[in-house]
């Protein structure tokens, strides 16, 4: 059994039990756990019950412990039906352990013996107890900021950063050139061209041709407008396009005697007058 190996057996009463603060209220992530008399888990409850036997954990009666736990859980269940699963699983396991301890192991029984199960439980309780004692001893050490202090006015390392700028002559010239070009671009005023809309051209053509049934060239009609060289293209294009439209509507006739020759136009004679 494990207690034979324990070096110095001390009564439980000497164990440090001054916990630092009452158990914190269950945190959000622990909502599933139901608060059982302030215990954090079945092991916690068992450890506390074992402590009440006021002996070293190696000397506790696992049987008595199991009975106390089961009766505690029974009591709690009367008050509160929803005792957490953890506690009930442990209760079932302890009931099983109890039965194993009370009934001698039959030959050929492959299940672990009651003694082994009890030793396992005892080991886990001792280990948890040991970790709690260790935590206590850690917290009672002279801790930094409580009994031991670092330099109160540390002198920080000053880091002076120097930048070494990288730029090549090419970068410099490119930056200069592109700026100067950008400057030119802002001075640039786009030419405002006179544009004859198709509607304008049509109105003008209608007016110029009037009722004339003579073949007269388009340029002759437009001669007043074609004086400005910059406007010739738009005037010719719009007038030509409009003239085609007028032909389609049967208002005028167009004739061209040779390729690239002048375009002649006249008002179409109405069918009736012909």
């Amino acid at each position: 059994m494990t207690h034979d190996r324990h070096p110095d057996r001390q009564p439980m009463t000497q164990a440090e039990t001054n916990w630092f603060d009452p158990p914190a209220p269950p945190a959000v992530e622990d909502v599933l756990r139901v608060d059982v008399g302030g215990y954090e888990g079945p092991l916690d409850l068992l450890l506390d019950l074992a402590r009440r036997q006021k002996v070293d954990l190696s000397g506790i009666s696992i049987l008595a412990l199991a009975e106390q736990y089961l009766s505690f859980i029974d009591k709690v269940r009367v008050r509160r039906i929803e005792v957490a699963a953890d506690y009930l699983v442990m209760a079932a396991w302890l009931a099983y352990l109890k039965s194993r301890l009370m009934v001698p192991q039959a030959a050929g029984d492959d299940e672990p013996s009651g003694e082994m199960l009890a030793a396992m439980l005892q080991f886990r309780l001792k280990r948890l107890e040991a970790m709690r004692t260790a935590a206590n001893r850690l917290m009672n050490r002279p801790r930094l900021g409580f009994q031991i202090y670092p330099r109160g006015a540390p002198e920080p390392m000053e880091i002076a950063r120097h930048s070494i700028w990288e730029a090549s002559l090419y970068d410099l010239l490119k930056a200069y050139s592109s700026q100067r070009e950008r400057g030119i671009a802002t001075d640039y005023a786009p030419l405002l061209r006179t544009v004859w809309s198709l509607q304008d051209a049509r109105d003008i053509l209608q007016r110029l041709i009037g009722e004339s049934q003579e073949w007269i060239s388009l340029d002759a009609y437009l001669v007043d407008y074609l004086a400005t060289p910059g406007e010739r293209a738009t005037i010719r294009a719009s007038s030509f396009a409009s003239s085609l439209e007028l032909v389609r509507q049967g208002q005028i006739d167009i004739r061209q005697t040779e390729t690239f020759g002048p375009l002649f136009m006249r008002r179409r004679r109405s069918e009736s007058s012909e």
């Binding site: 494990t2 190996r5 992530e29 756990r33 948890l128 040991a130 970790m131 935590a135 002279p142 670092p150």
Partner: protein, 223 residues
């Protein structure tokens, strides 16, 4: 050059080196590792030797040079604690769950969350581990080479510093616990006692994935 001259010169150099270490360690409020100090001393200088020498110089003083894991720091002498003890209370005392978790990690490291829960017999909220990591006492060490590759946790040098420990083997009661087999995951019958393991990864640990580290330190560069 006579031997005496050589001796004097090296005495002068030694004095200078000790002064530099003194200044650097005094200036910092966190422990500095020899690798932090090396750039200030030139090559081939035996920094661990110098640190031990400086430790000796300060051994009897009101301020001592102490070792904290890999780092070294000046700290007020332990025996003067009663005088210096300040009235301030911890702004937020550690909860019982956090305390137990911390000591389990300290004594059992590298420990996975499942192992911590096995010892405590109760589920450990993520908040508890986060809190300990935020305090700078616990760190993710690596991943256990078992199915699920659970993260393994261990303590930091700041943990040693806070609790005034030179190294993990100075954990109070460690030998006793080891002797009682209480650091084992199993019954002491099949005794195979792991010791809290500092430093490098154990055989059954893998390094952390890069993504694990992202959780701890939000990356500036990423948007």
């Amino acid at each position: 050059m006579s031997e005496q001259q050589a001796g004097e010169q090296s005495g002068e150099v030694l004095r200078r080196h000790l002064r530099i270490l003194e200044a650097l360690l005094f200036a910092s409020d966190v422990p500095l590792r020899p690798s932090d100090l090396a750039p200030y001393l030139g090559e081939g200088v035996d920094i661990p030797g110098l640190l031990l020498r400086l430790q000796e110089v300060y051994a009897e003083r009101g301020v001592n040079l102490v070792r904290r894991g890999e780092g070294w720091a000046f700290r007020t002498a332990e025996d003067l604690g009663f005088l210096l003890r300040r009235e301030e209370h911890e702004t937020r005392p550690l909860s019982r769950a956090a305390l137990e978790t911390l000591s389990i990690i300290a004594y059992h490291q590298p420990a996975t969350r499942a192992e911590i829960e096995e010892v405590r017999g109760v589920a450990t909220g993520k908040g508890t581990l986060d809190l300990l990591m935020e305090a700078g006492w616990v760190r993710m060490r690596g991943r256990r080479r078992t199915p699920g590759r659970p993260v393994t946790y261990g303590t930091t040098d700041a943990f040693l510093d806070h609790f005034g420990l030179e190294r993990l083997s100075d954990l109070p009661g460690l030998d006793e616990l080891k002797g009682a087999g209480l650091l084992s995951g199993r019954l002491p019958a099949d005794m195979q006692i792991p010791l809290p393991l500092d430093g490098a990864l154990r055989d059954d640990e893998d390094p952390l994935d890069p993504a694990d580290l992202g959780d701890l330190e939000p990356e500036d560069e990423e948007t």
